[in-house]
Amino acid sequence: MAATRALTIPDVYERFVKGKKVPEATWDYEIIPQNATALKEKYKLNFGDRIIPEDKETMNNLFQAGLEMLVSTGFYCQDLGRVLKISEEELWEGIRKTPTKLILGEGKDIARFYPRHGNSSVKPIIQGGPTGSPISEDVFVQVMQSYAQEGIVDNLVNGVMTTIEGKPAKTKTPYEIRATMAELRAVKEARVRAGRPGMGV
């Protein structure tokens, strides 16, 4: 049946609330491994020795297996202990609604985020940064500048500032949000120092 529309976040919440109750251990130790193994066998998936697939059949079979995994198994909410379901039509409606082109950053420092397809001759966006690694407060600007000043880097990704004003940036304390805001100020300063104030983060 055709989808009424792509699911919104409130739709997803309502489906979680009305979803089937499943213990988290059953989800982790039984449902996920059993369904994944069954789909591997159904679609005769065997990656062999090559790291990157070279044949369309493997790519298409894996896509169908993954799509079927999501539609037949659903998605788990650990806070509610419930599983929602999405139909294949609703999934495709969501995919169709997703933008296929994005602009990251501002002004002359933007990066164009467009589909490449296969091993295109178009370079992917290079997003430089510590990717969540712990970084000292006193060198945070300099670490981020070391990425922003690289010509090959198009966009930035933060590290995690480990302290703020000398205090550990612990979760569920006021220091957590103060550290996060300090990270944003530091990244802005790093971009300015590198001469690329509009770079996306």
Binding site: P53, E54, P115, H117, N119, T131, Q149, I152
Partner: protein
């Protein structure tokens, strides 16, 4: 997904933010082997768009024993999942980097370059990194690792995938054999002049040596 995540998504979708959804499937965990983990990787990537209103997806298959994204199995999962989705949709796909070795080591740069080759040749649109030393040691990441990530990606663009695979068949085992004794590398403060933010001569020499090794393996990588 938990309620905190759903609440954040409710806010971001309301104000019109660009939303990146991150998920790192664990090879060797609940999902099992490479094919099963790749199936779950495709499923959760699609869920990021179909359920959670993501605009692009950040992957990061991670090895349960090594805690890295640069092992053969995790590269294979990332490559297959990306190629499968790339062949069937226009969705925007990214991957993130967690090499074993620390900065200012050839091993770290070779690991990063190998993953950049994989992500580029399997059709991903964005490469995000790199969290050297598995992303867990304070101040052990620098811009030089991102430089090799970009240079290796640029050198890979447009190559025949079979040729990329041939290089990876030599490159990946060359560093995997050192996972049990990987060099810890140096901190940012040891790799750069912190005042001028210029890399040290030592790191530039290590970088040049890594590029020479990549050329020996067959990658036409430029300075």
């Amino acid at each position: 997904m938990d309620m905190t995540g759903l609440n954040m998504l409710a806010g971001w979708t309301t104000v019109g933010d660009t939303i990146m959804i991150e998920q790192m499937p664990i090879f060797g965990g609940y999902t099992g082997g490479v094919e099963e983990t790749a199936i779950c990787d495709v499923a959760t990537t699609l869920a990021s768009f179909g359920l959670f209103s993501g605009n692009f997806h950040l992957d990061g298959p991670i090895h349960i024993r090594w805690g890295v994204t640069t092992a053969k199995e995790t590269l294979q999962i990332a490559a297959h999942a990306a190629a499968a989705i790339d062949a069937n949709t226009d969705l925007l796909l990214a991957n993130q980097y967690y090499p074993m070795a620390g900065p200012c080591t050839e091993m770290c740069l070779l690991e990063t370059a190998a993953q950049a080759m994989v992500d580029t040749a399997s059709g991903r649109e964005l490469l995000s990194g790199s969290a050297a030393a598995k992303g867990v040691v304070q101040d052990k990441t620098t811009g030089m690792e991102a430089r090799v990530m970009g240079a290796a990606s640029q050198a890979t663009c447009g190559m025949k995938v079979s040729d990329v695979n041939d290089i990876l068949a030599k490159l990946v085992p060359s560093y995997e054999q050192y996972y049990t004794c990987a060099p810890a590398g140096k901190t940012f403060q040891e790799c750069y002049d912190v005042r001028t933010v210029k890399p040290t001569a030592e790191y530039l020499e290590v970088y040049d040596k890594a590029l020479a090794t990549l050329r020996d393996f067959g990658l036409d990588i430029k300075q």
